[in-house]
């Protein structure tokens, strides 16, 4: 069993390395073996309907794709980049404006080639969306060592100026 705080910090370094996730402010709520919760804060820049203030489905898709892609860190013993093969999202409710949306993902089947992941996005007790996704395992070597070290938290002299701590 890995320490949840260590896992959360690892996932956070990964999420922070994705420019678009920094842009929309995705952050880690909690992580443990094979389960991850991320949060999408409400902001004006992700609104799809200016009349109602409802978040666009695309931002929910990004939240769920990132949560599914990052739970891989909590499911596999070592970090490796796994590209998304496909993603299917069912939208149950519009997200209530002005409030954050969280997504909880877990990996329910892992083979040498494929990871099967499911995820739900919610606000309190209301499920906003549900999704299933598959990810391809392309091997650890396909991810450059320097990047793997960054995600593992092995600080190299060149990049030790990292700033904010997000919401963990």
């Amino acid at each position: 069993m890995r320490d949840p705080l260590v896992l959360a910090a690892t996932v956070e370094r990964f999420v922070d390395s994705l420019a678009h996730c920094r842009k929309i402010g995705l952050c880690v709520v909690s992580a443990r073996e094979n389960e991850l919760i991320l949060e999408l804060p409400y902001s004006d820049c992700i609104v799809g309907n200016p009349e109602s203030g409802v978040i666009h489905g695309g931002a929910i898709t990004t939240l769920m794709d990132t949560t599914c892609g990052s739970v891989v860190i909590c499911a596999l013993p070592q970090f490796e980049l796994c590209p998304t093969l496909d993603l299917r999202v069912d939208y149950m409710h519009a997200a209530a404006p002005g409030r954050p949306v969280r997504a909880r993902a877990s990996c329910f089947r892992e083979t040498n080639s494929i990871l099967f992941v499911r995820c739900e996005a919610y606000q309190d007790d209301t499920i906003i969306a549900h999704c299933v996704a598959t990810f391809m395992r392309i091997g650890r070597e396909a991810t450059p060592l320097a990047y793997r070290n960054t995600i593992a938290g092995i600080i190299e002299a060149a990049q030790s100026e990292k700033g904010d701590e997000g919401c963990v």
Partner: protein
């Protein structure tokens, strides 16, 4: 002016900048819309803030999905006999190639329009239309008709 009126106005004039200007998410990802006769092509210009994988670098899969979803709903709004706002029910995307840090294009096709539900196919490419980076389909629900 209401959103739906902006859609009508944009489609009549062929200038979509005002419509896109009032949709914050469209501005965030940088979506553009170009009309050629009855065809519409959506464009997502290269933008560093849309990147996910920093190694390739590649556009975040969620941004590609969001771009395709938003394109499909704009497309539907444009081609309804009576313009109305569609509500997305589900969305399914297959990622075929990495979306590199360059312009991305999307074209939509209305596969089936029922009274209440529409099925839209969405095709995204970068270098060549023959080499799609992603294919998606979505169902949309319209509020009008039977409750």
């Amino acid at each position: 002016m209401r959103l739906i009126e902006l859609v009508e106005k944009a489609h009549a004039s062929g200038d979509y900048s005002e419509l896109i200007g009032v949709i914050p998410y469209a501005r965030t990802i940088g979506l553009e819309c170009h009309r050629f006769g009855d065809d519409v092509i959506f464009r997502l210009p290269q933008q560093d803030e849309n990147l996910g994988n920093p190694i390739l670098p590649a556009i975040h899969g969620g941004v590609i999905g969001g771009f395709m979803e938003l394109s499909a709903s704009l497309y539907l709004m444009m081609f309804q006999p009576v313009p109305q706002m569609p509500k997305i029910v589900d969305f399914s995307i297959d990622y075929l190639r990495a979306g590199l840090n360059r312009d991305t294009f999307v074209e939509c096709r209305l596969t089936r329009q029922g009274n209440r539900v529409a099925n839209v196919n969405i095709h995204a490419w970068q270098k060549s239309r023959q080499d799609p980076i992603a294919l998606a389909r979505a169902h949309f629900l319209f509020n009008s008709g039977r409750k």
